[in-house]
């Protein structure tokens, strides 16, 4: 089904590592015909056609004119969904701040990622194409997150989203509640947690004032501070805060900080969102939820309830779902949408919560999250209804390249597990690389 067979591509990769990516993308348009297409941006399209060219979607619809030079791939009976967006994951050996301080905005996840970690392949096997890679929640601020696209790549730069200014795109991870409460220099109480965070932002505001007063004069500029530069990006809205929070009062503390400093924020996990759904909706702050199989765990998360999903939906708040991989296995991400529907969320909103809503929370909705003309050709071919347990992810395409194929024995080993298949760097496609064994 692939345009340029991956085997061929990878053999080329062995010879011309740098040029393979461009070779892998067909110059010719490709039409996927016969499937039920769920574009998310509109109603489901029966017997639809998805037309892509290079990295981009050219057309989606029931009556798409297929160019004469296009390759046609019959996917009758299948379901096509946009590539899934995971707003919160720890695959790829993410790490940010260390134990030296509770707030380390200068620490970048970027500098920790192992792009060969099998976690990325597991994500593809689950239909995920865009991920917000996050550091942990044991700090008030554990560092800069990074948004990645699961295209083939030998470096983090190769898979990172880039901002308009050319910088690697990502957010800022923050947390409150009990995880960051530790021994000094970490906070010992919730009030102290808030005070430390506020002071840091105030310091950043002071830094910003100095820069403004310098008015371009290098002699008057404050000394460079990596931490404050990152915080200025937060205050400028370039960098969205991804805020780990559980208890209702901690959630409201996040809203209070957000209002004071005006940063853009997404609430993450949000176990007790069901208790403050109206307040969240009124603040117009989006929520990224995790779906769990049972209540309990940490004291502050004991009232976690899947019904947060429908309650937030009814309150008018925007909801995405996330894996928090390894909390939820990336290969089973679609199940989270199923559980949200089980808890009472509408089917349409559950599908949006896996795609466009998450894309909006990462500021990537102009590129991904729906199947629309001009957007990245990131999509998943499913054997059936995305919300059914019987459905398999059969193929995952990223920017016009097939990145996961259930018919490929190595991809199957990732999808189902096998002896040695999931060790951290995976066994991947070694034998395809012409090394022989």
């Amino acid at each position: 089904m692939s345009i340029v067979s991956r085997g061929a591509c990878l053999r080329l990769l062995a010879l011309f590592a740098a040029s393979c990516l461009s070779v892998g993308i067909s110059a010719k348009p490709v039409a996927f015909t016969g499937a039920t297409i769920l574009p998310i941006s509109g109603e489901p399209i029966e017997d639809g056609t998805l037309l892509i060219e290079g990295k981009t979607i050219k057309a989606v619809g029931a009556k798409v004119r297929i160019p004469r030079d296009a390759e046609t791939i019959d996917v009758s009976g299948k379901v096509i969904l946009p590539g899934l967006v995971d707003t919160h994951s720890h695959v790829g050996e993410t790490a940010g701040a260390d134990r030296s301080a509770p707030m380390q905005p200068e620490a970048r996840v970027l500098d920790s990622i192992n792009v060969r970690n099998s976690g990325f392949k597991r994500a593809l096997a689950g239909g995920i194409t865009t991920i917000n890679l996050m550091s942990g929640s044991g700090h008030l601020m554990s560092g800069q997150t990074i948004y990645v696209k699961l295209r083939e790549g030998n470096s983090i730069e190769a898979i990172a989203y880039k901002r308009d200014d050319g910088e690697v795109d990502g957010g800022m991870k923050m947390a409150n509640g009990t995880n960051p409460i530790r021994t000094a220099p970490f906070p010992g109480t919730r009030a102290k947690s808030a005070a430390i965070a506020r002071q840091l932002y105030i310091d950043a505001q002071e830094y910003q004032k100095k820069i403004e007063l310098a008015d371009g004069d290098p002699k008057k500029m404050p000394e460079r501070s990596l931490a404050k530069e990152a915080l200025l990006e937060v205050l400028d809205g370039k960098r969205i805060v991804h805020f780990h929070t559980h208890r209702h009062d901690d959630i409201l503390t996040v809203l209070r900080l957000q209002e004071e400093f005006g940063f853009r924020v997404v609430l993450h996990h949000v176990s007790e969102a069901h208790r403050v759904a109206n307040e969240i909706a009124a603040a117009n702050v989006p929520v990224s939820l995790i779906m769990l199989d049972s209540p309990g765990g940490k004291l502050e998360a004991q009232y976690v309830d899947g019904r947060s999903a429908p309650i937030l939906e009814q309150a008018g708040a925007k909801v995405a779902l996330h894996t928090d991989d390894w909390i939820t296995e990336s290969r089973h991400f679609l199940r989270s949408a199923g559980l949200a529907v089980r808890a009472g969320m509408s089917r349409d909103e559950a599908l949006r919560s896996m795609t466009i809503n998450g894309a909006e929370m990462l500021d990537l909705d102009d590129r991904v999250g729906t199947l629309e003309k001009g957007k990245d050709a990131d999509f998943v071919i499913l054997s059936g209804d995305p919300l059914s347990v019987y459905t398999r992810v059969e193929q995952t395409w990223v920017e016009g390249v097939k990145r996961f194929d259930l018919d490929d024995p190595d991809d199957l080993a990732i999808a189902e597990g096998d002896f040695g298949a999931l060790v951290p760097t995976g066994r991947g496609h070694i034998h395809d690389m012409g090394e022989g064994h």
Partner: protein, 406 residues
């Protein structure tokens, strides 16, 4: 006098009501043959008295209806009730770390019937659990079989002493924080378990040779060895958590050496040893389908349950033990997640009903909808395994114990 007779009548009615119920299902899966369309299950006095298509329901009998009815589900290996829903020390009694071998620890002395996670399982249609001491020591203690109801453990219990939980694998090793030195290696784990069994053999021999002879008094009572003698006698199976292929083979080796009844638990790499496990005749309580691939479970697969089942190796599902979140798994969800990987509906359901009952040795009472068995049923508003279906009712011994939509 009239008042008293009314009272007696009311009492009689409520007694009859307790344990008398009819349940209608558009589809009734019995785990004992073909599904029944428009099936009816009649339960009287807590036992199933009739099951069939469009059966007549006795006048005035309380009747429930659901799209799908299955036998009450069985979780073949859990720690729920010993492990509570909070991951705080005071709420976690599934593992005693003071010694490597403590078979005398009874589950009945640590089970909290009012634990919210027991309720959570019950609300999803799970009516029986084999719960007790978790993996993590060579012998961590006993398990017991209980129904997921009852204010006291006496009301819940099906079998107070069901199995002896053992671990042959990484989690049984001491770590650098332990004051104990052993077991520090896998060789030592096996040696310690074998020593324990030999000691039990000697103890049993002393009891046998004493046999009323005043010159040879029986050895003093010893709870630990008494329990191990019951293992030697096959009265209590040894439930051995072993995940790596070499640990599974060690388990089979020791079972053969001492001719003891074992049940494999976890068995992450069992797909590498289908022939060996089949030949041994051992049953497998397989790891939760969605278990994380960490430590000695790093080679876990999603098709192991299917492969074992296709080889006719008896398989049941478990919720296992979770240290973080979700605080318990739910066997309904675990069995469901075998379906995309090729397990048949029937096999998946059997693994949480009749096959689990057989492995636990309680299939004379539970595990299928058949006349004479306990009136334990689970009701669903659609395919029970679909993510978007709901459990809508649970019946234990004819009593509605949950009517919440989950």
């Amino acid at each position: 006098m009239k008042f008293l007779s009314v009272l007696l009548l009311t009492l009689a009615a409520s007694l009859a009501l307790a344990g008398d119920i009819a349940v209608k299902g558009e589809t009734v899966y019995t785990s004992a043959g073909e599904p029944i369309k428009n099936g009816v299950v009649i339960i009287e006095g807590g036992k199933i008295t009739a099951v069939g298509e469009n059966l007549e329901i006795p006048d005035g009998m309380k009747t429930l209806e659901a799209k799908v009815v299955t036998p009450g589900l069985i979780d073949a290996r859990t720690v729920v009730g010993l492990a509570g829903y909070l991951n705080q020390d005071h709420n976690q009694d599934q593992l005693e770390k003071s010694a490597a071998i403590q078979p005398e620890l009874r589950a009945i002395d640590a089970y909290n019937t009012r634990e919210p996670l027991v309720q959570w399982l019950r609300e999803h249609g799970i009516t029986t659990i084999n719960t007790g001491h978790g993996p993590g020591e060579i012998i961590s203690g006993q398990t017991m079989i209980v129904k997921t109801v009852g204010d006291t453990v006496s009301e819940a219990v099906v079998r107070a002493e069901a199995m002896v939980a053992s671990t042959l694998g990484d989690s049984a090793l001491v770590d650098s924080h332990d004051k104990r030195k052993s077991p520090g290696t896998k060789g030592k784990i096996a040696a310690m378990l074998r020593n324990q069994l030999v000691e039990a053999q000697n103890y049993k021999e002393k009891i046998a040779t004493a046999d009323g002879d005043d010159d040879k008094p029986p050895p003093p009572r010893n709870l630990r060895l008494e329990t191990m003698v019951r293992v030697l006698d096959g009265e209590l199976p040894l439930l051995v958590t072993a995940n790596r292929h070499n640990d599974i083979m060690t388990t089979l080796r020791i079972a053969e050496e001492f001719d003891i009844k074992i049940i494999l638990d976890g068995a992450a790499e069992s797909y590498l040893l289908i022939d060996e496990i089949k030949e041994s005749g051992v049953s497998v309580i397989i790891h939760p389908q969605m278990v994380r691939f960490t430590g000695d479970k790093e080679n876990v697969t999603y098709n192991t349950a299917r492969k074992l089942t296709e080889a006719d190796i008896p398989v049941a599902f478990q919720s296992g033990y979770e240290g973080y979140v979700p605080k318990t798994r739910v066997v309904l969800f675990e069995a469901a997640m075998t379906l995309p990987y090729g397990m048949s509906f029937e096999h998946a359901l059997n693994a949480i009903t009749i096959n689990a009952a057989k492995i636990l040795g309680v299939d004379d009472r539970i595990g299928s909808i058949e006349v004479g068995k306990d009136g334990d049923l689970a009701l669903y508003d659609g395919d029970p395994f679909e993510w978007t279906s709901h459990a809508v009712g649970t019946v234990i011994e004819g009593k509605v114990v949950s009517d919440i939509k989950r």
